[in-house]
């Protein structure tokens, strides 16, 4: 499949600290591309730059043939670069459905149709219901989002991202704090999603990463030390020293 998003020599400096140092990474539809690395390796900063939350100090980002480096985060999101957050950032007082409906509404025209009730906006409602069904939350649609279990809130986080109809998914630790069963369900969802999306997965759960990833990039201190298919990452001596430890 063709490359959908490509970052070249992406760099982010905070004062004297270089959090992300010349990272080049490509995302393809049909692939889960995992980025692993210790805490502080620059994984979240990388996602923040790709999604537009942080401007890059250096380097370029291309999405679907456009140079999106100068685009604001909302513009990138509307173009199809969706992201989820490491810390759950749902709207707890809104219903599960409204969380997704609001996300879906972002891309709709006629935001000023004031005579029309938002709760009857069929286009955003349809997209929201589809996203909830895909994320396995269809039964929880009417519940306040804040009352969902931790795993449920992580699922909602993904559903909200899906509701915006993205082409690229930037997922920041979607498995954080999940139990074994919830993890399996989420991995099945990711396997389903990668068929039509290019997925970037930042994750600490190594078992999960090696089960799902088609390609793994390893970051240490902001720089990429290896990027390859999982089998070769597993046996890469540099990676073993820097990150995986003796057990692998």
């Amino acid at each position: 499949m063709a490359e959908l998003l490509r970052a070249t020599k992406l760099t982010r400096r905070f004062g004297g600290l270089t959090a992300v140092d010349g990272v080049t990474i490509g995302l393809h539809v049909g692939e889960v591309h995992a980025v692993i690395g210790t805490n502080g390796a620059g994984k979240s900063t990388l996602i923040n730059m790709l999604s537009g939350e942080l401007p890059a100090s250096d380097g370029t980002i291309e999405f679907d043939g456009h140079d999106i480096g100068g685009w604001s985060q909302p513009r990138r999101a509307r173009a199809g670069v969706g992201r989820s957050y490491q810390r759950t950032t749902i709207f707890p007082s809104f219903s599960v459905l409204e969380n997704c409906r609001l996300s879906a509404q972002a891309a709709l025209p006629r935001a000023w149709a004031v005579w029309e009730s938002a709760q009857r906006c069929t286009r955003s409602l349809d997209a929201a219901h589809r996203a909830l069904a895909a994320a396995g939350l269809a039964d929880a649609a009417t519940r306040p989002a804040g009352l969902l279990s931790h795993g449920g809130q992580r699922q909602l986080e993904i559903a909200m991202c899906l509701a915006t109809n993205p082409r690229v998914l930037l997922l920041d630790e979607p498995l954080a704090g999940m139990g074994a069963e919830e993890t399996s369900r989420m991995l099945a969802l990711l396997a389903e999603l990668k068929r039509e999306h290019a997925v970037l997965l930042v994750e600490h759960d190594m078992d999960a990463v090696f089960r799902i990833a088609d390609r793994i990039t390893v970051m240490v201190n902001g720089a990429v030390i290896a990027s390859d298919v999982p089998e070769r990452i597993r046996t890469n001596p540099e990676v073993q020293v820097a990150y995986l430890g003796d057990e692998h």
Binding site: G82, R83, T89, E116, M160
Partner: protein, 315 residues
């Protein structure tokens, strides 16, 4: 029609029938309360809906009022010209203030809105464009066909009609996609940006609409009082309207109206010399203590009182 609409509709009908039984003083008081309710509702769109605490909202009330007087001139002029001018002037200043202040957040936003309101205050206070610190009189009220705002009864209906219209307009906005977007921004602006909302534009739109509606309140206030002075734009006034929201309960349109009623009536009450004797001269103090007591006892405002009572009965 959902149940939420029963109380406002009944209240609106009662207000329309009320003049038949009111004395001139109470009718005047209802008009005053209703104008402040319009003002409070306009701020509720920012504070309660969008989560933007502005401490400079009186600037738009004052500008609306001043432009009403200045545009009326010596002969009054037409409402069809004066009202749009007043509203446009308030909206234009709101656009200017919003465009700059919305680049800041939290306490900085509060301070910047306050600073811009003080700026407007001193323009009217220290220059001769409109009578300086004394203000100016409205010599002739604007008219429109048979409509004569000098007639107290007609003025009453115009004010009540405006209150109903503004209430309905904001309710409509909240119900629409625009309002849901503002609510999302209030809860988590970063998440809204991640979903694809250019939030700045939405916030600016809310700020300008709120400013324009405050301008409508200013238009009515200038006509009711027959005069304007710089105190209309002062931070006391901005603080008072914020207190109305807190008193009534932030996050509900009814709360804003109830807060405007409660604040205005309490202020009248504590200024009554017949009732409080020499203490009436220090009404700010008694009003202040009362508000502190209200906020301490009813953190969700007067609108939370019913839930409180129902809860107490069941608990």
């Amino acid at each position: 029609m959902s149940r939420d609409w029963i109380i406002p509709t009944v209240a609106a009908l009662a207000l329309l029938l009320l003049p038949a039984v009111l004395t001139p003083y109470t009718q005047d008081l209802v008009v005053k309360v209703a104008i402040y309710a319009v003002f409070a509702l306009s701020l509720e769109l920012l504070v309660g809906v969008t989560g933007l605490v502005s401490l400079g909202h009186a600037a738009f009330l004052g500008i609306g009022a001043y432009v009403t007087v200045l545009a009326s001139g010596d002969s009054g002029g037409s409402i069809a010209r004066v009202l749009p001018l007043a509203v446009l002037a308030a909206a234009a200043y709101a656009f200017f203030v919003g465009a700059l202040s919305l680049r800041t957040k939290g306490v900085y936003f509060i301070m910047v809105t306050l600073a811009f309101a003080q700026m407007a205050y001193f323009v009217f206070h220290d220059t001769k464009i409109a009578g300086g610190s004394d203000g100016i009189f409205l010599y002739a009220k604007p008219t429109l066909g048979a409509l004569d705002l000098d007639d107290k009864r007609q003025m009453y209906y115009v004010v009540i009609g405006t209150l109903i219209a503004v209430y309905a307009l904001i309710a409509l906005l909240i119900r629409a996609r625009f309002g849901h977007t503002l609510a999302g921004i209030r809860v988590n602006e970063q998440r809204m940006r991640a979903a694809g909302y250019a939030t700045y534009g939405y916030k600016l739109a809310a700020f300008v609409i709120a400013g324009a509606l405050a301008g409508v309140a200013g238009f009515l206030l200038a006509i009711k009082d027959g005069a304007v002075n710089p105190e209309l734009l002062s931070w006391h006034e901005s603080g008072a309207v914020l207190l109305m929201l807190i008193l009534g309960g932030i996050g509900s349109l009814r709360g804003a109206v109830i807060g405007a009623i409660a604040f205005t009536l309490l202020k009248e009450l504590f200024q009554l010399e017949a009732l409080l004797g020499p203490v009436a001269a220090h009404w700010q103090m008694t009003l202040g203590f009362t508000i502190i007591a209200f906020v301490a006892l009813l953190p969700k405002g007067l609108i939370g009182l019913r839930a409180r009572l129902v809860g107490a009965r069941h608990g």
